[in-house]
């Protein structure tokens, strides 16, 4: 067995432990040094990941293929950009910074295991590793009532959704007698036709993964948790946790349940429509920018589900491109929120008025992220939506695409509302906002990537297509 496939995960895990021990033994806590140390570990794992070959371990329990590695890159990039953006936040507002960063790294380790999981038990356990770390991270500001509330809500609802998911997994095992995903797919294919138990299991999966994705109608937790959790955690949660839900969802549905596709397509379509409508309409009413971004993330996942209900290789390709573009635009927007609330202590959209006067560069990058989230040409968001809806059109899902485009138009209002307030409202005070260099770095990386994907999508499309080749449609 070629254990070298596991090196990125092992490096990350060991790094998290070393960081924890270093932090515990240090006489004085130096949050910046710890943050940089964590960053080095994440970048190291990212670099090593490029050299990991294809293969599988433990009888297809651990799979290293282009799809898994593509997702691992997304998880690591999300963590890297989040950590860059959170160093200042952490040193300002947090105690236990060592534990904070090591939990982020453990969470990413769990997500990477999840991306490689080729078997139900390890899939579930890896999912739990990532979500349990996220529960703790959401409640990390102990003195802050909202953060505590966010953590508790997330924990209770998350545990319930895990239970539902687990029930579905057990039904699938009962139906096929195997926990290996390939084997399950093969046996479902041989069995032909479906029992009501399979449909029941599918409903459980959609509910369980729908919670992780924060897709309506399983989104109730998202706004409160996004608002209450420390902003860097929200940034990470809004991207990585969705990607983690998607990686398992797609591998399970496109690998194991493809034989019974007619049974699940309708359910996924309904969830997609609900997510797009609920997310975009309710986002219009939000006054807090974190809540607004929470509803926007619900809507965004609806667009992905539109593509996934097509069930073709372009669905996977477009999902990969979407996640990359969404990662940089969304985390970038959250870094702006961090920078703004560090300077002014507010998360209200109204308070962003006159940001153009107070810090032009901050207003410009925020505008670019908002444009990308809407999907305006020349940004990554446009390319992502183009391929997402293209996949649906290719399979003739015109109703879905029409709803997606109509709700995208609605989304224009609330995204552009932020831009309007920043650019055209008078500033409440003339104080300039200073940006620390780490925040600048995070913002610069995100803007460059958002524009790069929008202007030169070729290599990213190739990368996404490579990931889709492992599925046999």
């Amino acid at each position: 067995m070629d254990y070298s496939l596991l090196i990125p995960e092992v490096v990350l895990f060991v790094w998290a432990l070393v960081l924890l021990l270093y932090n515990a033994s240090a006489k004085t806590e130096n949050p910046r040094a710890i943050g940089l140390f964590a960053l080095i570990g994440l970048v190291a794992a990212f670099v090593i990941l490029w050299f990991v070959p294809d293969g599988s371990l433990f009888g297809k329990t651990f799979i290293s293929d282009t799809y898994a590695r593509g997702f691992k890159m997304i998880f690591l990039l999300a963590a890297i950009v989040t950590v860059i953006g959170s160093v200042d936040f952490a040193s300002k507002h947090m105690k236990h910074t060592g534990e904070f960063y090591s939990l982020i790294m453990l969470c990413v380790t769990g997500m990477m295991f999840l991306a490689s999981a080729g078997e139900l038990i390890s899939l579930y356990v890896a999912l739990e590793l990532s979500t349990i770390s996220l529960y703790i991270l959401a409640a990390f500001l102990k003195k802050d009532l909202k953060s505590t509330e966010a953590g508790l809500k997330y924990l209770i609802l998350g545990a319930a959704s895990s239970g539902i998911l687990l029930y579905g997994l057990s039904l699938l095992y009962g139906l096929t007698g195997s926990t290996v995903l390939d084997e399950i797919g093969y046996r479902l294919f041989l069995n032909e036709g479906t029992t009501i138990a399979a449909v029941f299991a599918i409903v459980m999966f959609v509910a369980g993964f729908g919670f992780k994705l924060a897709a309506a109608p399983f989104h109730m937790w998202a706004p409160d948790v996004y608002e209450g959790a420390p902003t860097p955690v929200t940034a990470f949660l809004s991207v990585a946790s969705k990607a983690a839900g998607l990686v398992a969802f797609v591998r399970l549905f496109f690998n194991s349940l493809l034989a019974i596709k007619p049974e699940w397509v309708v359910i996924v379509e309904i969830v997609a429509i609900l997510a797009m409508v609920v997310g975009n309409v309710v986002a219009l009413l939000q006054k807090n920018i974190k809540r607004m971004l929470a509803y926007s993330s619900i809507a965004q996942v609806g667009y992905v589900l539109v593509a996934l209900s097509a069930g073709i290789d372009l669905s996977v390709t477009s999902m990969m491109i979407f996640l990359l573009a969404y990662l940089f635009a969304n985390i970038g927007a959250f870094i702006v929120v961090i920078a703004f609330s560090n300077a002014t202590g507010s998360d209200n959209i109204e308070d962003y008025s006159g940001l153009w006067k107070r810090k032009p560069s901050l207003a410009i990058v925020m505008t670019i992220y908002m444009l990308s989230l809407v999907g305006i040409p020349l940004t990554g968001g446009f390319i992502a939506k183009y391929f997402l809806f293209g996949a649906a059109v290719k399979e003739g899902l015109y109703t879905l695409v029409v709803i997606a485009i109509l709700t995208s138009v609605i989304s224009l209002f609330y995204y552009m509302n932020v831009v309007r307030i920043m650019m055209f409202r008078p500033a409440p005070s003339a104080d300039k906002i200073a940006l620390p260099w780490m925040i600048k770095l995070g913002l610069a990386i995100s803007v460059i990537m958002v524009l790069l994907i929008g202007i030169w999508p070729g290599p990213f499309y190739a990368w996404g297509q490579l990931a889709s080749t492992i599925f046999h449609f």
Binding site: H96, A126, L129, I132, I136, T176, S178
Partner: protein, 167 residues
């Protein structure tokens, strides 16, 4: 004979389960739960899964229930704190959901046709031995992830519980 023991144990489990949800006093409910768990352990033992029976007693009847009792006693709940204003609505809603669930269960059980049977553990190997062999060979990888998971949970518990202000 085996059937008689099964029915006795099953009746104990069901009766205690019923008592758990109907007791007003939380401590009484928890104690009934202990009996139910012990009876379930008996069911496992009767199936020949001595290892799982032992686990059931140690983990559920032992650790979890003790933890449960500690929490109840520390919170020191008064009876009126259990009262809900929307009790009627809750009961009605619960009844409807319960009926739906039973119908689903009946549908599933009646139409269930197993594809291929799951592999049974080889009885010749003895239960604990077979279990650990599976655990440390076939399921070594998820087992290791679980240990990482426990570490993450432990870190979280320390962070949440620590009262350290500054060093």
């Amino acid at each position: 004979m085996a059937n008689v023991i099964f029915y006795i144990l099953a009746i104990i489990v069901l009766a205690c389960g019923f008592m758990v949800v109907t007791r007003k006093n939380a401590i009484n409910a928890a104690l009934y739960l202990v009996v139910a768990m012990a009876a379930i352990a008996g069911l496992f033992a009767q199936l020949g899964s001595l290892f799982i029976a032992a686990l059931q007693v140690i983990v559920y009847a032992g650790a979890i229930i003790v933890l449960f009792l500690f929490v109840i006693m520390m919170l020191n709940l008064k009876r009126d704190e259990f009262g809900f204003d929307s009790r009627l609505f809750q009961r009605l809603f619960g009844l409807i959901l319960g009926i739906i669930f039973i119908i689903q269960l009946i549908l599933i059980v009646s139409r269930f046709r197993p594809g291929l049977p799951a592999q049974a553990i080889d009885p010749a190997m003895g239960n604990a031995a077979a279990m650990s062999k599976k655990l440390f060979m076939q399921y070594l990888y998820p087992f290791e992830i679980v240990s990482v998971l426990l570490l993450a949970a432990l870190i979280g518990a320390v962070v949440m519980a620590s009262k350290r202000k500054d060093r």
